[in-house]
Symmetry: C2
Subunit: 338 residues, 2 copies
């Protein structure tokens, strides 16, 4: 089979790789129906994370089950499945608490920009749809495997509740999905921070009620203006830089909550500042597995359409162009089809 | 009147001071019935915070109302009152959200180790009891004004729930009150981290089910041993040092919560570590005013007895000895009576 391999920052190649095989009884192998490039894939692509040796890329996927190990009984060959970027056995203490992304047997997916994918912990990771979905639903089901699940987690971690005010920091695919999540969870007012016209437009279509283009202290002041001077109930931090975290923490009111889902890079939070803010803070890799059944239902029923974050679709063998387009901000998110 | 003044680290004096007066229509002046020395008073006493010029000390108090300003209608002269160390108007947006310790008109109390005290924002800060309490209840009512309210907040910020497991980091007065709070809020298992026999004993009497004497990695390993390998649902951080914060964050399970109420000194939290822990974190000065009616009821009904944290009672004019005894760890907490 063939798949994407990163050799160095800026250098992603589509290469012949060994076909994946069942190596443990809890494995499955799926044939990729769609995969994509994640904002977090850009960290190594941009040299912000080291690339010590060439390695495959990709952690988002939907596909058709090809083969399962002997202990995989919930899904079977031929089924269309959605999984999480973090695999989980769904039976350990952390899974039972609903924190499957901290499964004691977790393995992060990292080989999904390929024709076929081995899924570890397949028994606790994959969720099959009743029937094969129509092609127009595939992008949204793919989004559920990471960005929509992550936006959902951001909104839950930020404790978005009916009638509350939410701020979304970051207008990438996760931030835009965070707008969907805040809307679904009942926020009355959703303030999206974005400076890009096309993303502002999509945020508004997803349910944002206000757009703030300013950043830093000006952005914080604008949020305060819109929230009675005290800040928002909930803030979704969907970037992962020191600037975005500062923006988020200062946009929340005392007693409010920040859910942070952008993998933090060189971020640290000063204890006394967090203390006097009285803001609650929770982040992490989203426990997407917990949300999969619900989010798949919302997609299949047409209630949400997070697949709209894909504004570029390419054949899988043009994966390198997908990275380039996202790096150059010509695309929010690139979907890849084998 | 007379009151405590700190002149330099280690130098607290009991001096003649100007009598407090009503300076705003929302003020009250109370005659002190009891006050005390707080763990946080030891920061400047030990030189960990600067003492730029001599200033009065003390922020915990119960007393009898002497005089009220024209806008103070809820309490009247002659009543016994309990208040918070953070004053609040109880009408601003933050107060209405239940975060009175971030009141837009907040003033922190700082002159309470004295015969008489001016209370700013008295209308939204003081809660009167129906009648004058008997003397044996005074220490517990005094505790409610700060350490019991703060332990309560730590337990709520750590989301202690019926049946949960809670760890309390810190065996000072706040930590011990945190044990009471965890018990009242229904925790099944309460693990107190303490190396002092007398404090261990009091923690057990307050409801702790386990004591851990180890600290650092050993202490964390012991918590994991007692919590199925994953950590506790809730951790109350009641110290405020880098070591105690690390202890707390590593003692919580993925998806668990840390409530931190020790004012952080040189503490910073690394973003990626917090991210992958998936631990929720909330701290701050406790919104004691929100809890006052409930906690006063629990004291008056005999349900809780946080006044037991006072293991030294002195005449107010011996306030310097109170500081010394706490600094030398001869006392957990010193109560002072004019």
């Amino acid at each position: 089979m063939r798949g994407a391999v990163i050799h160095a920052p800026g250098d992603v190649r589509f290469e012949t790789l060994a076909d994946p095989k069942i190596s443990r009884p809890t494995d499955a192998v799926i044939r990729t129906v769609a995969t994509c490039v994640c904002g977090s894939d850009l960290w190594p692509y941009r040299g912000a994370e080291p690339v010590d040796e060439p390695h495959p890329m990709g952690h988002e996927y939907v596909g058709i089950v090809e083969e399962v190990g002997s202990e995989v009984t919930d899904v079977k060959p031929g089924q269309f499945v959605v999984g999480s970027f973090a695999t989980s056995d769904n039976t350990c203490a952390n899974c039972l608490n609903g924190w499957q992304s901290s499964c004691l047997h977790r393995e992060f997916m990292s080989t999904c920009q390929a024709d076929y994918i081995r899924i570890p912990n397949a028994h606790g990771t994959l969720v099959a749809t009743d029937e094969h979905p129509s092609g127009d639903l595939v992008p949204s089901l793919l989004a559920v495997s990471d960005v929509m699940g992550t936006g959902w987690y951001a909104a839950l971690a930020a404790e978005v509740r009916p009638g509350s005010t939410a701020v979304v920091v970051g207008d990438g695919a996760v931030g835009l999905c965070g707008v969907i999540a805040a809307k679904e969870l009942g926020a009355d007012r959703i303030i999206a921070m974005s400076r890009h016209a096309s993303r502002q437009k999509l945020a508004l279509e997803f349910g944002a009620t206000d757009i703030i283009g300013e950043r830093g202290d000006e952005g914080i002041a604008r949020v305060k203006d819109l929230t009675g001077g005290i800040g928002a109930d909930s803030v979704l931090e969907c970037v992962g830089t020191p600037e975005s975290m500062r923006q988020a923490l200062h946009s929340a009111r005392p007693g409010g909550n920040v859910g942070f889902v952008g993998v933090p890079h060189e971020v640290s939070v000063e204890g006394q500042e967090l203390f006097f803010s009285q803001v609650g803070l929770r982040g992490g890799p989203a426990p997407v597995r917990r949300y999969l059944p619900d989010l798949i239902d919302r997609v299949l029923s047409g209630r949400i359409n997070p697949g709209r974050v894909f504004d570029l679709t390419l054949p899988l063998d043009q994966v390198a162009e997908g990275y380039r387009a996202m790096d150059e901000r010509r695309a929010v998110k690139a979907l890849l089809k084998p």
